[in-house]
């Protein structure tokens, strides 16, 4: 998605470089973009990648069992298939890598909150929303708002305080805020949604705490993520979690249960795909590799990260 937005920006710059057919080169003027067709191609590409993983697994002799898994003990898992069938699996080593999910406000806290979608729903959108509100100040909110704005949505970024990307160096957020203003992205500071009215798929009215209202077609919550540690049987196996719900692991990805390890977002540290992959490779080396790998672990110090704004 980011590459699509980036391409749009390059097209916009083209007129400044003398490409006559690109006539409207201002930061607020966007080339037309066939979202629906692009989505089909993107989904097909992801499906192809899934297929490559599948065939790699079968080539390595790895059995892939599709279903909902719950721990039933330190060395056992019960998997419920889509048809409701149950299968019990025993293993000397179990690695939990179930990830996390985007959180949304409850209906009690913000009536109508469930009319909004999350980053998952963003990838399901089959058309570019005409008007969209993205709620949140973290990198996911900034990335989604940037992409939607660049591709042509009237985009509103609603943040609770005065600045976004507050966990990054102020240089980044401040410089980006100045630029985003020029690109037509509307940033609403000190903004608190109290109520959402409308119906799913239709126009939504956001009622803000300062009494103002905002009319949009799509509302996206990007207010944080939580580890998917509910209802996976952690209590049955005796795996400890912290107050945020993340599985507690040591520097070797080891939980308090000797036969159970955890990698990725579910252990709450450095929530990035390449980190999970790197940690997983080292973990498998340590557990199943030759003796020289028996102390292998991923260093979580100084991990570089990029916001694709």
């Amino acid at each position: 998605m980011w590459h699509a937005a980036d391409t749009s920006e390059r097209l916009r710059a083209a007129a400044d470089y003398g490409f006559a057919s690109a006539t409207s080169a201002t930061p607020t003027n966007k080339p037309t973009f066939d979202w629906a067709n692009f989505k089909l191609k993107r989904d097909a590409y992801i499906k192809k990648l899934n297929g490559i993983y599948d065939s790699n697994w079968s080539r390595e002799g790895i059995e892939h069992i599709h279903g909902y898994a719950r721990l039933t003990g330190p060395k056992s898992v019960e998997v419920t298939g889509a048809d409701g069938s149950k299968k019990e699996i025993e293993a000397d080593q179990i690695c939990i890598a179930v990830g996390g999910y985007p959180i949304t406000p409850s209906e009690e806290k913000i009536p109508g909150a469930s009319l909004g979608i999350t980053s998952d729903g963003f990838f399901d959108l089959d058309h570019l929303p005409k008007r969209v509100a993205v709620v949140g100040a973290g990198y996911i909110a900034v990335e989604l708002a940037g992409i939607l704005n660049t591709l042509g949505s009237e985009t509103h970024l609603l943040i609770r305080h005065d600045k976004f990307l507050r966990t990054f160096d102020p240089l980044l957020g401040d410089t980006l805020a100045d630029w985003m203003g020029q690109t037509g992205l509307n940033v609403h500071k000190q903004s608190h949604i109290q109520k959402v009215e409308g119906k799913s798929g239709g126009p939504l009215t956001l009622h803000l705490a300062d009494g103002k209202t905002l009319e949009v077609d799509t509302l996206i919550w990007a207010i944080g993520r939580r580890a998917s540690t509910e209802d996976i049987g952690l209590d049955k196996a005796g795996v400890n979690i912290n107050e945020k719900g993340d599985i507690i692991v040591d520097e070797y990805q080891q939980t308090n249960v000797p036969s159970i390890t955890a990698i990725g977002d579910v252990q709450g540290k450095a929530l990035l795909t390449p980190v999970a992959i790197a940690a997983g490779r080292r973990l498998s080396n340590r557990l199943f590799g030759p003796p020289e790998f028996k102390h292998e672990k991923l260093s979580y110090e100084n991990i570089p990260t990029v916001v694709f704004s």
Binding site: A13, D16, Y17, P27, D169, L171, L172, T175, W179, P304
Partner: protein, 79 residues
């Protein structure tokens, strides 16, 4: 080529400590930052001593929070 209002900003900041100005952090913004950061990431991981070998200045208009090593490194720029 582009009017100022059309140019995406670029900003670079080095976080340094001690009289030797060892680089302990790098924050960058602008086109190509993802690729630049991959190289800088190695440098910071190595303790910052290596950073001067990897400095690439993308655009003469970028704001650089300078350090002697960075100044002494000849910029890479297309002619």
């Amino acid at each position: 080529m582009m009017p100022d209002g059309h140019k995406e900003p670029t900003a670079y900041k080095l976080v340094v400590v001690g009289p030797e100005e060892k680089v302990v952090g790098i924050h960058i913004l602008g086109m190509g930052s993802d690729e630049v950061m991959q190289g800088f990431g190695v440098a910071v991981k190595m303790g910052g001593e290596f950073v001067r070998l990897l400095v690439r200045i993308m655009d003469l208009s970028c704001l650089v929070a300078t350090k002697k090593d960075l100044d002494d490194t000849v910029a890479i720029h297309p002619t």
